[in-house]
Symmetry: C2
Subunit: 143 residues, 2 copies
DNA sequence: CAGCATCCATGACGATACTG
DNA sequence: CAGTATCGTCATGGATGCTG
């Protein structure tokens, strides 16, 4: 029971989050960077790209490796990443069908940029956590 | 009417998004990287860091430059970034008070990593949009 | 000027059940 | 195995009004 229109109720739009695009915002937010950050900021995309960076995987393989993702979110995120051209989906005509997901060159490019962020996080989030503790000590419950 | 407990209803937690941290997730999601991606993925943080990268600014200055942010989100995001140690808040005792926000060295580090992502987006999001169009043409409404 | 408090709409996400 | 469909929840974030 589907009339065929494409975007399902919660289909993630990548190009334009459909804000007030008419306004002349000083710093436009429907720019490519915002779209990328939306994708990268969601819960599973980066995890999936990281895993597929190690090698191609099947649906349930990903599900097991991630462990904590619902199959709704997994398939939804995979479809979005495929649509973005960041990964490729191959259907092998076995019985039952097996589907393999593989990162594309474009996805690998993004992953490289992503890894710099990840490296920064792993070396410097300690400083961030320390700053948070200092902030909370000073303002949160000061005597 | 506030009993003094710190986290307000919608206070952004950076360290742990309060998932099922008890589970032994194969790929833990309450890692520093996830926390960073949550911050970076929200709507205003990156924009604010970029603006403050150009120079210190006041509250309403930021609000004007961004144009589209509510002051709730602006102050909330600024407070979170300050708590993370990514920017500093200085109160000048003028009349009325003026408050200046300035990026910290830590914030500048993050901004540098961020800029690589932004550069990637600006050069390669064209390819992503093309992939989306191809995907939609093939699956969305194919004859 | 620089915020905080409150209400409310949307939508992201998870749980569950069902299919080829 | 690899999904789709549906429903409920809860957080995100915008609008509005008030304060020092």
């Amino acid at each position: 029971m589907q009339d065929g229109t494409f975007p399902s109720p919660d289909y993630p739009e990548v190009t334009a989050p459909r804000r007030d695009a008419g306004r002349g915002d000083a710093y436009a937010r429907d720019c490519p960077t915002r779209a990328l950050l939306d994708r990268v900021g969601d819960k599973w995309s980066v995890l999936i790209l990281l895993l597929l960076g190690e090698g191609a995987m099947r649906f349930n393989g990903l599900k097991r490796r991630i462990g904590g993702v619902s199959q709704k979110m997994l398939s939804q995120t995979l479809r979005a990443l495929e649509r973005d051209g960041l990964l490729a989906r191959e259907v092998l005509p076995t019985t039952p069908v097996s589907v393999t997901y593989r990162i594309t060159p474009l996805g690998r490019e993004l992953l490289a940029a992503l890894r710099l962020m990840i490296d920064w996080a792993e070396t410097r989030m300690g400083a961030v956590v320390a700053a948070q503790a200092a902030y909370d000590a000073a303002c949160g419950r000061a005597p």
